[in-house]
């Protein structure tokens, strides 16, 4: 079976200013199979978020090769990257990034706005997902009336809405206390057991222990697994 993600010698360089640039990723080789639960660990500034953004097609490698679901990502147009994100990727971030003027339900529906073919009952599906995380009674609330843990669960529902293969969570528990953090991690575990590929960035070994595979990254290189 083909891997879901395949990175070969991926480098990422950021230009800062006129003729100054930093190479943040210095040759990443990574293979992710469908159904894996991976934790990425490393010191601050080691390039974890940069790698996540590349995996999630929010950004493109400066060089190397990256195949997502069999498609070569380098050289794709911006619109194609949008489509890849929309259909294959679900993002969860440390800050929840919920739209303040929309209800919980509407926030969860956001990814469906950009899908060409919307499968009929998107609202029913959104309600089902919200029920899964125990927020069915909060559907018509504004995000600012929810606790941090609840907001992160809404963000997780939004990530699941278009039924992507991969959930990318960059320090999803960074703003949560340990009890709420473990709730979120249990949800991610459950999703992984149902077949989703989950990649989590974390500093916390307890969080990493949920994963089946831990990748350590240092100065833009994967140092050991």
């Amino acid at each position: 079976m083909n891997p879901l993600c395949l990175m070969e010698n991926v480098k990422k360089t950021f230009r800062i200013g006129e003729d100054l640039s930093v190479e943040v990723l210095k040759g990443i080789d990574l293979k992710v199979d469908e159904g894996e639960f991976i934790a990425i660990m490393g010191t601050s500034g080691s390039g974890k978020s940069t790698l996540m953004n590349l995996i999630g097609c929010l950004d493109v490698p400066t060089s190397g090769r990256y195949l997502l679901a069999g498609r070569e990502v380098l050289g794709l147009l911006d619109d194609d990257l949008s489509e890849l994100r929309n259909t294959h990727i679900g993002f969860v971030f440390q800050s929840f990034y919920l739209l303040p003027y929309a209800t919980v339900l509407e926030n969860v529906l956001l990814p469906t706005l950009y899908r060409e073919k919307t499968a009929g009952h998107v609202e029913r599906r959104a309600a089902e997902i919200l029920k899964l995380v125990g927020l069915e009674k909060r559907m018509n609330f504004r995000p600012n009336r929810l606790s941090g843990g609840e907001q992160q669960r809404v963000a997780l529902c939004r990530a699941l809405m278009n039924d992507p293969e991969i959930i990318l969570a960059d320090e999803p528990t960074g703003q949560l206390d340990s009890k709420t953090a473990s709730e979120i991690m249990n949800l991610l575990s459950d999703l992984n057991k149902k077949g989703k590929t989950v990649i989590v960035v974390t500093h916390d070994a307890t969080i990493a222990s949920y994963a089946g595979r831990v990748i350590h990254i240092k100065d833009g290189i994967i140092i050991d697994e």
């Binding site: 949008s82 990034y97 003027y101 929309a102 509407e106 956001l110 278009n162």
Partner: protein
Amino acid sequence: MERIILNLKIALGALGNHRLRTVLAVLGVFFGTLSLVIVGNLSDSLSLKTEQEVDSLGKNLVIVFSGQLRRHGPRFPLATRATNLTLDDATAILYAFPHAKEVSPSGMKAFPVRYQNTVLKAVAVNGVAPNFAEVRNFEIASGSPITEDDEKNQRKVAVLGPTTAEKLFGDENPVGKTILIRRVPVQVIGVTVAKGSDISGADQDNQIFVPLKTFLRNFTNKEYVNSIYVQAAGDSVIPSLQKEIVALLRIRHKIRDGMKDDFTVVDLKDVNTLKSDAMGMITILGRTAAAASFLIGALGILSIMILIVNERRMEIGIRRAVGSRKKDIILQFLLESSFISVTGGLIGILIGMMASLVIARVLSYPATISVPGLITAFGASALSGVIAGIYPSFKAIQVNPVDIIRS
């Protein structure tokens, strides 16, 4: 559709933080459409009104006046007099041009008029052909009109305008009574329906009509008439008929090349040019005001959109992350800005319609709704929103989701 509603709802939420600015922007567009709608409706009302006035004088009329007229000014004072416009000229016009459906020569002179002890010093007495009522759109209110028979037998009969009748007779019924016109006894046979003043402002109800032959033989003792009313076969043939009449009369009056006409041919529509000139000024003023309002509205929308795009960088970033393309973002913000402007536009159209109905009523103009005016106004409001939204939406797509997440 649901996407649009959801996006608008989110936009309204964001606009809610800037109520005053939003209201000001909406007001700009509102005043723009308001003035466009009012100007459009009123200029339509005015042209309908002048058309009605022209028609009340007689349909498709071309008038030949004896002598040169001063073309401008509210009335037609004679610049030069001439005494050679004749009944034969009228007959010649009728026979020469198939587009001349009817001709109605008439003479006019002011005479003292008396009934018992009431004396009117100078009333316009018109010698008219029997077809005058039809050609000049006069109707008989009571009694009977002047007939072929009256004309042929040079009868001393008269039809009075309602104002004249009222002045001479008060409440009495004039029909059958005898009045004195320049000491000649004349029997009143009818009274016309009130028409008000004509397009040049002359009172059409204060005059007396007598058969033309009677007028020429008993009152003026001349062979010439003052005017010939020519009814054209249709609206479109009037300009060519006008030229043909000029050519024919120049030959008949033996006017050599280079010499001035001793008559004037007037198309009643010419008279309207003056009025439409005035309306033109109002239209220009209204359009300028509208353009200024739209500009202010558009600038208001521009500033508010820049503001809320900046405030919503996180929203834009997260939308991009969940898969919106750049054009989705552009479309979203263009929709928002045109939504603001169309709101103002629709209110402007609504109030503009009501206002123009009221104004038309006050000026006693016929009320009309100018559909092209409405479409222009709506289009202008939508367009100003779209244009105002272009720059902010390009600002919006410069938001890089990666930067949003990093901060």
